[in-house]
Amino acid sequence: MALLEVRDLTVSFHRRGEPVFTAVDGVSFEVEPGQTVGLVGESGCGKSVTSLAIMGLLPKRGAKVSGSVTFEGTELLRLSDRDMRDRRGRDLGMVFQDPLSSLNPVISIGLQVTEVLERHRGMPRKQAMAEATDLLNKVGIPDPTRRLSEYPHQLSGGMRQRALIAMALACRPRLLIADEPTTALDVTIQAQILALLKELVRDTGTALIMITHDLGVVAGLCDQVNVLYGGRIVERAQRHELFVEPRHPYTHGLLASIPRLDAARGQKLVPIPGSVADNIPWDHACAFAPRCANALDVCRGQTPAEEWHEGRLLRCHNPVEPAADAAAKEDLRV
């Protein structure tokens, strides 16, 4: 049985005076125990909303969630607020994008780590402090005893994100969701945090949903990748297949726009033309059509359905032919 099963997850925002906006539109995917699954796509494609829906953290008013999210067989979407609270932080942990704003500025790092231990593992404060020291050690924070008594503003960006990871993993959840955990950090720190996450999920057997707009992050970390566009999954494949043979024109474009160290000099990056602002609604069309090099007439008249092509999921009327990338296959070893 899959650890997490997301079926037909749909989230729409209903705000007074605004048209209903569907941010996530029938998304389905699974996460096996210990597996690392990527959720990739440009800004605004619904990555965060998906993860917040799984965690039950969307605003109670204004957000309508439908579909199903089962975790170890339990339907999370129908859980009471209290039962969901019992699971958050214990069975499912989450790390957010901006470590500074994600930490409470007026209470110590120590309390922010121990409060979750007290809550879910019933530890008395003293024992929780000892455990917290251990945890900070594990996430690579030097001098943990001193750090525990400090406040978020006294830590560097990388240290803050490490502390947040420690909090999310404090109760050994089976699933960790990391929503762009490195976007707000310096490049060198990014690599360190990714390496840390990789090591931690390997050592603890925690499953990880890695949310990012950066395929480079996915390349080093994920077993399986879901590519989102306009609130829908447009391609899902194992990491290797996806990188070697991107079939969806959007994935193809994303890959072509990654700067590569081994790129021949003068070889130009090919960014995807246009932006998400050019999206057209999914009904009776492909939302990507205005930006797609492969677009056919049918793309503006009929919604492409999710279909299986040789072990991968695709939502496209005219996928990129595998042969077209034969050359790229040669020099891409991931």
């Binding site: 019992d86 957010f96 704003s101 994600s102 500025p105 007026v106 979750v116 503003h153």
Partner: protein, 336 residues
């Protein structure tokens, strides 16, 4: 922190010196004066001149000021000429100060105890009927003039309904022992419960009138601050850890929302004196505010000088207290 407090206290000395000079000059530039107030319009020119000389008001203003300053440094602020002739200004102050403190503290307690929880509740139920109703209520609270509200309360609850006393601090005839000058506190300390209760009943109406504006302001600031904090990322982090609602509220929402509220409480406490002048006047409540009102009418220079200088000191000290408690709540300031 300690160095900061000391520096602020030194600044206070300078501020008070400058203020005392300005105040001194300003009071003497007002039309009328203690002599007309004491002797009335029909006094002879001769008796006026005699009294002017007796009060030292015939001297050049700088001579008057430095004489005042010299005496003030040894604790002598002169004799009251209007509020309580025969007493020193210091006696007027020390008799009335506890009354005003008692009233102000009760008013602030009412304002804080109602303003913070209601503001929090309104924020949690943003856009609901409770929120809308209390926002309108707080707007009215700020808009209604204090003296009008004081009259209204007095008329309704004291005059018409007779539920509460309409004036003073204590019903005459109650034989209460004085210890501190805080009547409620005295009653409790001496276990004269009837006196304590009687003093408290006298406080209720003026305290309510005085509390209105601070309450309305504290309510609105709390509501706005909680709304801001509820949207913060760290509240989402707290929720993602599965913390119980009370912990999320107290530790993560309220604690951060209290930062602007503490400043507001301080400013409102400092501004209370303006409201106290009107409220005490309406309720004939023998505090500093009433003395200021009477002092102005009768041009009682010594009493006005002392009371206004002390009011300024209290204002500065309250603000210092605010800064200190702000630093206690916010480690970003404390550990700078």
């Amino acid at each position: 922190m300690l160095r900061y407090v000391v520096r602020r206290l030194l600044q206070l000395v300078v501020v008070i010196l400058v203020l005392s000079l300005l105040l001194f000059a300003w009071l003497r530039s007002l039309p009328g004066g203690p002599v007309s107030a004491l002797l009335g319009e029909r006094a002879t020119e001769e008796s006026r001149r005699a009294l002017t000389a007796q009060l030292g008001l015939d001297q050049p203003i700088f001579v008057q000021y430095f004489r005042f300053l010299g005496r003030a440094l040894s604790g002598d602020f002169g004799n009251s000429t209007g509020v309580a002739p025969g007493s020193t200004a210091m006696e007027v102050f020390s008799q009335r100060f506890p009354a005003t403190i008692e009233l102000s503290v009760l008013a602030i307690i009412i304002a804080v105890l109602l303003g913070i929880p209601l503001g929090y509740l309104a924020a949690r139920r943003r856009g609901g009927w409770f929120d809308n109703l209390s926002v309108i209520g707080s707007l009215i609270g700020v808009a209604v003039p204090v003296f009008f509200l004081a009259f209204l309360l007095k008329y309704l609850f004291a005059v018409q309904l007779g539920w509460l006393p309409s004036a003073g601090r204590q019903t005459s005839g109650i034989d209460a022992t004085r210890v501190t000058g805080f009547f409620v506190l005295d009653g409790i300390m001496t276990q004269e419960w009837d006196a304590a209760l009687d003093a408290l009943l006298h406080l209720i109406l003026p305290a309510m009138a005085l509390a209105t504006i601070p309450f309305a302001v504290i309510f609105r600031i709390t509501r706005a601050a909680v709304l801001d904090v509820l949207d913060e990322d760290y509240v989402r982090t707290a929720e993602s850890k599965g913390l119980t609602t009370p912990v999320v509220r107290r530790r993560h929402v309220l604690r951060n929302a209290m930062l602007p509220v503490v400043t507001t409480i301080g400013l409102q406490t400092g501004a209370l004196l303006a409201g106290a002048v009107l409220t005490e006047r309406v309720f004939g409540y023998p505090g500093v505010g009433e003395a200021l009102a009477i002092g102005f009418e009768r041009r009682d220079y010594p009493v006005l000088q002392l009371l206004i200088i002390i009011a300024a000191m209290v204002y500065v000290l309250v603000n210092l207290l605010v800064d200190v408690s702000y630093a206690l709540i916010d480690p970003r300031i404390r550990t700078r």
